[in-house]
């Protein structure tokens, strides 16, 4: 056991280095905007850039819409599949995995092709329509994570028996969904939402090819044209996602009944 512990620490340290060395290097670099001393000039420059605020705000908004749409799509589907169509689970799971194997580029080309200004549904003709298209694309990219998160969440409870128990106590579908299913997958939904958020914030290809003012293209543009600001930007993006993750951990800890599942 002793040696196992030492090895685990070494492995842990190696993992940390693997992930954090680039971050630390970047953070150090981002502080060097002023010659000869460390300063937050790069951060001030980034945060002061109206383009930053515009693109970041746009991406956050898109992320929120994507999350809401994703939850509405995924939670009832997963519940219904588990309850009534358990045999279909492999098929549904396969479908939700497709976005991982269809490169985003393919999706975008398909969208542009289908919904261009000369098509039957000219979504790309208006900014609103393109936003909608972008949201569909994001939902698709996030689907595997959202589905898996909710599915894993529902796996920890015996959906069928709990539903039947509630029914025999007189509860209808709405009561069952609201008082039993949702509270039990809340943490899972949050973690799915968080992953969605991270994906949308960092996504480049969809936004760039649909030509929307999102944060991903802005980051790439900065990377190509500035010296210290990209590093500051990356650190900011990392801190934001990290904060989200901590928030989820907190929520998980606070909900007493999930503690059993964590052991």
């Amino acid at each position: 056991m002793r040696s196992a512990k030492i090895w685990s620490w070494i492995a842990f340290a190696a993992g940390m280095l693997y992930f954090f060395l680039p971050l630390i290097g970047m953070f150090e670099f981002s502080l060097r905007a002023r010659r000869g001393e460390y300063s937050f000039d790069a951060y001030a420059s980034v945060l002061g850039d109206p383009q930053f605020r515009a693109t970041f705000g746009y991406s956050v908004l898109m992320a929120l819409f994507t999350i809401i749409f994703g939850i509405l799509l995924v939670v009832p589907t997963v519940f219904w599949v588990r309850l009534k169509l358990p045999r279909w689970r492999p098929v549904i799971e396969f479908i939700t995995l497709l976005p991982l194997v269809i490169p985003p580029i393919v999706i975008v080309f398909g969208y542009i092709r289908l919904y261009n200004t000369s098509s039957w549904l000219p979504l790309t003709g208006t900014a609103m329509g393109t936003n909608l298209l972008l949201m569909f694309g994001y939902t698709m990219l996030a689907l595997p994570y959202m589905y898996r998160a909710v599915d894993t969440g529902l796996r920890t409870i015996d959906v069928q028996t709990l539903t039947e128990a509630a029914q025999s106590l007189g509860a209808g579908w709405i009561t069952i969904l609201a008082r039993l299913i949702l509270p039990n997958v809340l943490v899972a939904v949050l973690s799915g939402a968080f992953l969605t958020f991270a994906i949308v914030i960092g996504e480049f290809v969809l936004a760039a090819l649909l030509n929307r003012p999102a944060f991903g293209p802005y980051m790439v543009w900065m990377g190509a044209n500035k010296a210290y600001e990209p590093a500051a930007l990356a650190v900011i993006a990392f801190v934001v996602t990290w904060a989200c993750m901590a928030l989820i951990q907190l929520v998980t800890r606070l909900s007493a009944h999930t503690r059993a599942q964590q052991r």
């Binding site: 028996t161 128990a165 025999s168 106590l169 007189g170 509860a171 509270p183 009944h257 059993a260 599942q261």
Partner: protein
């Protein structure tokens, strides 16, 4: 008409006829067990009563009304599941009060009922706990309280003890039976464990292949099984092969001895029939009123605690014999020669 009346119930899953022509009348306050091996249709009958399955044909009448078309949440039937099925996000008190809240019972009244139920199951202080903080036995008692809190017309128990440890299983079955009798609630209990069915029930329905093979009190089922399946599934039997000497007079011959059975035998003279004997009907050595005695050799000794089960070679076969442990007399040894006796009235004659 009985309180709960099931008539000509049929159910198939695809090509498989799971329940066939099932009929049962349950009186108010009765404790009925559906006993049978897995796949015999007992759980499907229960789920049709609960409303989770719809019968292909037949009727289920509660208090004279057919409930077959009623949705499960309108039937006022309590159910306890093998897997406890407590709501993990609710405390024990919230679990027990769930049905009351759904039914719109005023808060104060609901709280009183919850406290009453928790007292009934002997866990008055655990209301604030979450299910994962309870042992399996406690969880199943909470599930029982939850089902009873809404005062259902019928209580359905779907193998509620199968997931528990041996010791808790035994103590909880006494507890369930006591609560059922105190409340006088009509109960249907599904189990594959014959000891549970025998010890808890007013009547037992032994099921096999979707059919109710025999319905009767535990005493009847055990001592007067009507089919080979029932005799074998409930309890242990040993079968001696006998040659019929006088069918009308009930005289048969085993290992050179003539036994006069108390009833005629339905087989021709010279035919062979099986004489089934329960292990407690056999006695080591001579015994009061045990008129038949056969030489035997001890083949195996199993010390089970209060009972010692012996396997003996006799009459060309192996029979099981139960005898009580006696602190002053160690059990016999394998290979010893002895005699077994039994009374003709204890013989169960099984039709081929």
């Amino acid at each position: 008409m009985a309180f709960l009346e099931i008539a000509r119930l049929e159910k198939s899953f695809g090509p498989l006829r799971v329940v066939r022509d099932f009929n049962l009348s349950v009186e108010q306050g009765e404790f009925i067990s559906l006993l049978g091996p897995s796949g015999c249709g007992k759980t499907t009958v229960l789920r049709m009563v609960a409303g989770f399955e719809t019968p292909d044909s037949g009727a289920i009448q509660i208090e004279g009304r057919n409930v077959v078309r009623q949705r499960p949440n309108a039937r006022k039937i309590g159910m306890v599941f093998q897997a406890y099925a407590l709501f993990p996000n609710l405390t024990v008190a919230q679990n027990v009060g769930f049905g009351l809240k759904v039914a719109g019972v005023p808060r104060r009244e609901a709280e009183e009922r919850v406290a009453e139920m928790l007292a009934l199951i002997g866990l008055p202080d655990l209301g604030a706990r979450y299910p994962f903080q309870l042992s399996g036995g406690q969880q199943q008692r909470v599930a029982l309280a939850r089902a009873l809190a809404v005062r259902p017309r019928v209580l359905l128990l779907d193998e509620p003890l199968s997931a528990l440890d041996a010791k808790i299983r035994v103590s909880l079955r006494t507890e369930i039976r006591t609560i059922q009798q105190r409340l006088g609630i009509t109960t249907i209990f599904v189990t594959h464990d014959q000891e549970e069915a025998l010890s808890m029930s007013d009547r037992i329905v032994v099921m096999n292949g979707g059919i109710a093979e025999q319905v009767g009190t535990p005493f009847e089922i055990y001592n007067q099984p009507t089919t080979k399946f029932v005799a074998n599934f409930v309890g242990t039997i040993s079968t001696l092969v006998a040659e019929v000497e006088d069918p009308a007079g009930g005289a048969v011959r085993v290992a050179g001895q003539t036994i006069r059975l108390p009833r005629p035998v339905e087989a021709p003279r010279g035919g062979r029939i099986g004489l089934a004997l329960r292990p407690e009907a056999l006695h080591l050595g001579a015994g009061d009123g045990r008129d038949t005695m056969l030489p035997a050799t001890i083949a195996d000794v199993q010390f089970l605690g209060s009972v010692i089960r012996l396997q003996l070679h006799t009459g060309g076969t192996t029979v099981a014999l139960d005898t009580f442990n006696r602190p002053d007399m160690p059990p016999p040894r394998v290979g010893e020669h002895t005699q077994v006796s039994f009374a003709a009235r204890d013989v169960i004659v099984l039709d081929s």
